[in-house]
């Protein structure tokens, strides 16, 4: 095989693999799940330390993608230990009964460029609702980062009921910002 032929073949191979690259090896340690909300009109944020992701994503074929996310609610960090304890209770997440929140994507489509959109079912505290999460995908070699966000109303899931239902103190709107890193297997 001469050099030109070899280079041609190599180029063809790289091309083929970048086309069909599928990211499915999620690196949880490099991923994060942050939530933001307002309390007395003060913007605050927190995070979940433990979650699991099963996903398969080929940027060229988003329609075949799969994504399932399970969040361990008791791994919450609100920045305040009293609040961390409070939100596990019955009025909030009720983690005794509902230890995890789940997201399952039902469809993922390309929006153009590096932008995509996932539509799926989000289950928290036994309630399942449809959500839409736009996200971007940045590819670097065999690693891709997925950054996106969605907003939900906590009362739709009965999170923070009873005396906490007063939206003047803790606002209804909660934003969820995710950053996932995955590589191809």
């Amino acid at each position: 095989m001469n050099i030109a032929k070899f280079l041609g073949l190599a180029a063809l191979l790289t091309c083929a693999t970048t086309q069909a690259i599928e990211f499915s090896d999620v690196q949880l340690a490099k991923s994060s799940m942050i939530f933001g909300y307002k309390q007395m009109n003060v913007p605050l944020d927190g995070s979940f330390a433990k979650f699991n992701i099963t996903a398969r994503f080929d940027p060229a074929k988003p329609s075949t993608a799969l994504a399932k996310i399970d969040i361990d609610l008791s791994s919450i960090d609100t920045g305040n230990s009293d609040a961390d304890e409070e939100v596990l209770g019955k009025l909030w997440f009720d983690t005794q009964q509902f230890p995890q929140a789940h997201f399952v994507a039902s469809s993922i489509k390309a929006l153009g460029g590096d932008r995509y959109q996932a539509v799926g079912k989000l289950t928290i505290k036994g309630k399942t609702l449809d959500v839409t999460a736009p996200f971007t995908v940045k590819q670097q070699g065999n690693t891709a980062t997925f950054d996106g966000a969605l907003t939900l109303n906590r009362l739709d899931y009965a999170i923070g009921t009873g005396l906490w239902a007063d939206l003047g103190t803790v606002a209804n709107e909660v934003s969820i910002t995710f950053h996932f890193v995955a590589s191809s297997k």
């Binding site: 007395m40 009109n41 003060v42 605050l44 920045g79 305040n80 609040a83 007063d166 103190t169």
Partner: protein
Amino acid sequence: MSPQYTRTAIVLHWLTALLILSTIPLAMYMTDLKLSPLKLQLYSYHKWIGVTVLLLVVARLAWRISHKPPALQANLPLWQQRAAHGVHHLLYLLMICIPVSGWLMSSAKGVPVVYLGLLQLPDLVEKDKALGKVLETTHELLSYTLMLLLALHLAAVIKHHFIDRDDTLSRMLPLLKRKAL
């Protein structure tokens, strides 16, 4: 004719006094509450009152520097003149340092201060839990020192008004001016 404080100085004095004497019991009550919406509301009110005190005290200091207060009673022993001035200066210092330490504490705990729920103040330091704890203790100790000094301040006023029967209090509270004999 006994000298008096200017009307501006008097208004600023009593406004800060009112706010400080309401926010201290408020703070002691709120910190003991179990987490609840009420607790979160009271924390915000405490911060708003505290920031208002800071603004008023800055105005008071500017006024005080540009308007000399009336001289102390002429017959006051030197140690009492020194004590009065010392306490007044420390009160100013604390009225600045306490709200600033509260603001610093809030920033360090990762909770921005939104004045009156409307105006977000800049964070003074990066989020840092350990620093937040230190500032919380600082804020408390400074507040207890302020309470101690306020007690001294009040004791002196009571002594002047009821024992010496001079016009120390009426200079700041003209309502109480004694009728000239």
